[in-house]
Symmetry: C2
Subunit: 256 residues, 2 copies
């Protein structure tokens, strides 16, 4: 059940933020993993669990979330293919939040023992993984700024920018179009607003000519405008190189 194919999204992700040697990539490819297909809205790990393995998202969309008294949910981050949303469980035994799927997804489960063996024997891979968790933390901080200090309109624009950049960085966008097959409620849970309000703001963003979003496909119609509306600065993603997004893909915008 180990898999070069399975680990590819992980490699793409790590490469986007850290330079790996071929030998290091081979070590990562050699990690034994159990592949698991999941329906949407299923939990991978729950608050209070003490996991003995950690997961890599191979396909689909996964999120970390918490539920507070009153039943309201706060989504803490989105995990796209290549992400390891519970890598932290290698060092923090008890989960302080849930991880669940938002769409049908495929995940790889890697026993902690193997992760530990790898990071103990290869300090540079340990550094890459550590760095990965530090970038997670940077994204949390950015969301905190949004939740605390930005209007819902800005927050939504910012989130779209973030998703486009992150998906592009791992080769999962088509120009300025991304797959986002979730309900507006999910966006609300991520940004701390209600569905009703999300809906009204999406209408505004569409009216302003910034985005379209239907049938699970989100397309940015005005990238500079969206970046402005979202007060978006991708520094916090700590990518090795920023994907070029201000230019639409060549097959959509003939130069002449």
């Amino acid at each position: 059940m180990s898999g070069s194919a399975a680990a590819l999204p992980l490699l793409r992700k790590l490469r986007s933020t850290f330079e790996l040697t071929e030998a290091e990539e081979r070590s990562i490819l050699a990690l034994p993993a159990q592949i698991r297909d999941m329906k949407r809205d299923q939990d991978i790990v729950r608050e209070g669990d003490r996991p003995s393995q950690c997961c890599v998202v191979l396909a689909g969309l996964v999120c970390r979330y918490r539920v507070v008294v009153g039943g309201r949910r706060q989504i803490l981050s989105f995990a796209i293919p290549g992400d390891m949303p519970d890598l932290q469980s290698v060092h923090l035994t008890t989960m302080d939040h849930n991880i669940g799927t938002l769409t049908a997804s495929t995940v790889a489960l890697i026993p902690h023992a193997h992760v530990n063996a790898l990071i103990t024997s290869q300090p540079r891979i340990a550094a890459a993984f550590w760095r990965d968790t530090l970038i997670d933390a940077a994204v949390f901080r950015e969301w905190m700024v949004g939740l605390g200090r930005r209007l819902a309109h800005t927050r939504i624009a910012h989130l779209v920018c973030e998703l486009v950049v992150r998906l592009t960085a791992v080769g999962l966008s088509e120009g300025l179009r991304i797959s986002l097959p979730v309900s507006q409620e999910v966006i609300g849970d991520a940004l701390g607003v209600t569905v009703v309000h999300v809906n009204r703001i999406l209408q505004a963003l569409r009216k302003e000519g910034l985005i379209t979003w239907s049938d699970g496909i989100l397309e940015v119609k005005d990238w500079p405008g969206l970046v402005r509306a979202g007060d978006f600065d991708p520094t916090y993603l700590h990518l090795r190189e920023m994907p070029k997004l201000d230019v639409a893909p060549f097959w959509r915008t003939p130069v002449n």
Copy 2:
């Protein structure tokens, strides 16, 4: 300029979340550090900097923060003695937020080279440091939940609980009294609300008999009540053992 005395707060902090051997503690004590006294409201590192050292808070109160368009500040976390608020800079070269003092403070500055040497040669210390940054991330998540889904009243109660537990964990509280010599504006910047609103909620918390706060001394008058009001569950702090707080210190509450 190296200092056993200087590193003590750091050791207390690390011990609160990770078990260190004496040899490991000695290695940490041996880290060379430059001690620096700072006035309040001074920046230690700024957004965009590429620091070559990282800092340990030895005394005082330090915070991470960001400023958004419009000049509003979002405090991202408080760093108390023993904390290393920019440990991340060892792996993320560019700062994506500021770190500054909230009160007159003393910090120790340790060159990255020495930190790198230590974590490369001693995997368990690397694990302790990594774990430390993971706990930072857990605190960010908890704040996100507050900012996104809790009322300001709850958020303030929660913050007080957090500060009391963290300060107690490193021996810096007197029972349920902590030193908190900051303005109400600082609390507002941390919780994403205005001073005016903070003021009104503090009055409510006082009226409810939960806390008192004057002359920079905050005292919890009803710990279970405050925990309830703040929807506080300390799991996310990942302490090795939870300080006993539900009981007032013996010298204040004679049993008979």
